[in-house]
């Protein structure tokens, strides 16, 4: 397309119609109103089982080459939006970590195609656009060329308010033909505490600056009051507005390029293939289940803690320890339809870790994109499964009971729950023999945020992207990838250390692969890594070790096929240190975590405060200062298989590399090895290893007791609530109250009285 024709196309696209023209524009003559189109789409899916009633894929069948080519062009358009948007944004989260996404949607909201980035967002944007239509926005305020709509409120389609969702309608010759949307995670959302990981928010009134499903601009420009609001209600408004401009720039890029595509291939063709891509995605997800999984039921319990008792909190009711019950039940029926339930989920919490069902649907789409439906990634996979309404009043559906529940980092429990989806489908794929598709459970997401005066003498608040590069889950046939995977994005990227140092007053003393951090199994999960930071060039800075989906008191319930799960997340820090003296004297510093009982932080440093085994999340009680040290670990993923079936050569190699430790090699993997100082390598004694492993098997048989005997003993301990933390008791009470059938099954299993509760 020539520059001139592009200009004409853009003018056509953005020229503002009069009132009567606008009504025609948004309705179209044949299509009816958007609300009518939505109702028709829903009815056709119900009646035919196909999205938009597409029993035949006319365009795909008649011209598969062009069909595929246009898909690739749309992908390219969305990814161009991503590149432009991130460059314009310039905030570390978008520019350095890529925590953003741009997408293209039907007029009724369904995502057609998306860019790289955070794949939980297309579902959110789809549901947000749907909610605009269902709320009558088509009439008031109406949709016009050049409009900019935005939302970050979980009550109306958002997930958590740090994720701003911007949508722009795309008109062609007066007709609304599509939407483009974007989500970026801003550096500061205006929460009650600085930053964007609002786990500490007690209620929605502390959930930051609200943009409540509103029109924030016209004629491709923000209204002036939008920027005024961002400047008065977020702490780093240049970055917040940079993100806003980045979202808009990416959307306008997509809009202009889509119009060029429509000019070339025709509107009718675009409208046809856009719907076929979505139906194609649904078919792919159904087909994958049908050909690679098994019908039946899969269950996976999981739990996540949020232990805040005795810590710095905001309100008295937050002086409490919480444990989340995150149950997953999947039923696959004869038609390969997948039904998902959270029966048994525990109650909402007085922290920013509650999520709405609509956000959960989008999260599910994220997880599904990794393990089930990832060919043409769009809204289609959502039609391949159903999510039962989570128990009202639970962390997964708080509003029916508490409309003011906080969602500062709503993702936190959901992402840990979704980890079970990997293992659940992994088990099903295993049974069919698709061992290469098996993935054990995922890693956790422990964030680091800094707020205070930076090295340039100005106030800063923001997130590192350290956590966006976990180890990946073990496969059915191999170890997981190390520091190259992330549950919430297929584009894992922890950013450059040197660039992070430019943003915050810290220096990296270390960024190391963490040995043995991928669980213990025949195949280990990918290993995580540890960042060691020295606070430098600041008058004072606060460190928020945030929960965006971690476990610190408990392990994940991910012992797939006999493996041990990864350990809990435990950061460390020291303040008032002697590091300057050590530097001057050229003495050893801290570059890694070291021994779990005698860590380097304790061995190498003297300090007024040394917290080497902190239960996360937390906010430092006061500012950290020059020469203080933070040790921030990022978790690995889960393992698979009996640990004494691990290949001794793999253990030896990782001992050499410093990725495994002798005690674990010996005690957990049963590998007998010694370090040959002369050859400078580890050597395995094969015969001794075989003998040790036999002894371990025999020991297991000797000390294991028949389940039924244990059940009898355990039942008595349950009745006595023996050694059960208050958080555990409270979790069971709320789970049983919110899901009576779950309670009945629990009581029946332990043969507890009908009125028993914890």
């Amino acid at each position: 397309m020539s520059p001139k024709s592009r200009l004409i196309a853009r003018r056509k696209a953005t020229s503002k119609p009069g009132r009567s023209q606008r009504a025609r524009a948004t309705r179209g003559l044949a299509d009816g109103t958007l609300k009518e189109q939505l109702e028709r789409n829903d009815r056709l899916l119900r009646e035919t089982g196909h999205l938009f009633g597409l029993e035949k894929m006319r365009r795909k069948e008649s011209d598969p080459g062009t069909y595929e080519a246009i898909w690739q062009i749309l992908l390219n358009i969305c990814n161009t939006g991503h590149v432009v948007g991130c460059r314009v944004s310039s905030s570390p989260i978008a520019a350095e970590g890529g925590d953003a996404l741009w997408s293209l949607h039907l007029p009724t909201g369904e995502a057609i195609c998306t860019s790289r980035g955070i794949v939980s967002h297309p579902g959110l944007l789809s549901l947000l656009l749907r909610s605009y239509i269902e709320s009558g926005y088509e009439e008031d305020p109406g949709f016009s060329p050049g409009d900019i709509f935005e939302n970050n409120d979980p009550h109306f389609g958002g997930i958590h308010s740090a994720d701003f969702q911007t949508t722009v309608p795309i008109f062609y010759r007066g007709k609304l033909i599509a939407w483009t949307g974007s989500v970026t995670h801003v550096m500061d959302a205006g929460f009650v505490l600085p930053g964007s990981i609002g786990f500490m928010n007690p209620d929605c009134f502390s959930d930051g600056v609200p943009v409540v499903a509103e029109r924030i601009g016209q004629n491709d420009r923000f209204h002036p009051w939008y920027e005024k609001r961002m400047r008065s209600r977020t702490r780093v408004p240049d970055w917040t507005m940079g993100d806003a401009r980045g979202r808009l720039a990416g959307c306008l890029t997509i809009r202009d390029r889509l119009i060029a595509l429509v000019e070339k291939y025709g509107l009718e063709f675009f409208e046809d293939v856009a719907r076929e891509y979505i139906e194609d995605s649904r078919r792919y997800a159904v087909s994958r289940v049908r050909t690679q999984a098994t019908p039946g039921r899969i269950r996976k319990s999981n739990f996540k803690d949020l232990a805040m008792k005795g810590k710095r909190v905001l309100l008295p009711q937050q002086n409490v320890d919480c444990l989340f019950n995150l149950p997953l039940e999947i039923t696959i029926d004869r038609e390969a339809k997948v039904a998902i339930s959270l029966r048994g989920a525990s109650g909402w919490v007085p922290f920013g870790e509650n999520i709405t069902p609509s956000a959960l649907v989008s999260g599910m789409l994220n997880a599904y994109s990794h393990v089930v439906g990832f060919d043409m990634f769009n809204w289609g996979a959502v039609a391949a499964w159903s999510l039962d309404e989570p128990p009202p009043g639970s962390w997964a559906n708080p509003y029916p009971v508490n409309y003011f529940a906080a969602s500062g980092v709503a993702w936190a429990p959901a992402v840990v729950w979704m980890s079970s989806l990997y293992e659940a489908f992994g088990r099903s794929y295993w049974s069919r023999g698709f061992v290469e598709e098996v993935a054990a459970g995922g890693a956790t997401t422990m964030t680091a945020e800094f707020s205070g005066t930076n090295q340039y003498g100005i106030y800063t608040a923001g997130l590192t992207l350290e956590q966006a590069s976990n180890g990946g889950p073990a496969r059915g046939i191999a170890d997981g990838e190390t520091s190259a995977w992330c549950l919430y994005t297929p584009n894992a990227d922890f950013g450059n250390a040197e660039v992070t140092e430019l943003y915050y007053p810290i220096l990296y003393l270390g960024r190391n692969i963490e040995p043995d951090s991928g669980g213990y199994g025949r195949f280990r999960g990918g290993l995580g890594h540890t960042a060691v930071w020295l606070v430098k060039n600041t008058a004072g800075i606060e460190y928020q070790c945030g929960c965006a989906g971690i476990r610190s008191k408990v392990c994940g319930n991910h012992g797939m096929f006999g493996a041990y799960p990864t350990w809990p997340d435990r950061p460390s820090y020291a303040s008032g240190t002697n590091v300057k003296e050590l530097v001057d004297a050229r003495q050893p510093l801290v570059h890694e975590r070291g021994d779990p009982e005698q860590p380097d932080l304790v061995k190498n440093i003297r300090a007024d405060v040394v917290e080497w085994n902190v239960i996360a999340p937390f906010v430092t009680p006061g500012d950290l200062h020059e020469w203080d040290v933070i040790v921030h670990p990022v978790s690995g993923s889960q393992a698979l298989g009996d640990p004494i079936e691990r290949d001794p050569e793999s253990v030896r190699r990782e001992l050499d590399d410093g990725w495994a430790r002798e005690r674990i090699a010996s005690d957990v993997h049963g590998v007998v090895a010694h370090f040959d100082a002369k050859a400078k390598r580890w050597v395995v004694d094969g015969a001794a290893t075989a003998k040790k492993r036999d002894a371990i098997r025999e020991k297991r048989k000797q000390r294991g007791i028949p389940f039924r005997d244990w059940w009898k003993q355990e039942r008595e301990k349950i009745l006595a609530r023996e050694n059960m933390a208050d958080a555990v008791l409270a979790m069971w009470r709320s789970s049983m109250a919110l899901s009576p059938d779950y309670a009945n099954e629990l009581r029946a299993f332990w043969k507890l009285p009908d009125d028993f509760t914890f």
């Binding site: 039921r297 088990r427 069919r432 799960p565 009982e597 294991g704 389940f707 349950i718």
Partner: protein, 183 residues
Amino acid sequence: MSNYDSSELERLIDGELPWTRVQEIMKDAKDGDRFEQWVAILQQRVPWKEKILLPLTTALFIVQKGKKRIVKCRCGHEFGDYRVNWKLESLIHVLETEDQLREVYRGREQPDPSWIQIREYTCPGCGTQLEVEAVPRGCPPDFELLPDLDTFYRDWLGRPLPDEVEFADKTLEAVRNWRSESR
């Protein structure tokens, strides 16, 4: 649709294929006879004759034994009706104190035993660690995979199994018969 010969699939299963080849297999359309080949390979590797109906884990299989469908370990140990959670017939050892947890997790790596217990499920026959659970006291054992075998064989594979059985979780029925010395 792809097809792989049995020896290549065996190498895939055993983790011996080069990663580049595994990636090709992951990207290609899946082979339609994978399940049949998978079961045939595994059947050759077990020392017993019962027909494998569905592999459950690296060590456990649902097999046809006479008219019954039972869970069986690769070593030959039998766990009973596949519709009852096989864990009820396993050996169990629980790490639930700090000292016990030290066998695996030490120092900052140790979870809090008043929040969670580590349950090790072992095969009574061969001592293989079959599953590990990390759950708080009170959590019934996960019954991870309960396949609807008749639907699978009849409707998905097109070769019905003889003697259809009810698709139902029979675990609670089994527990109902246990003596609890209840209060």
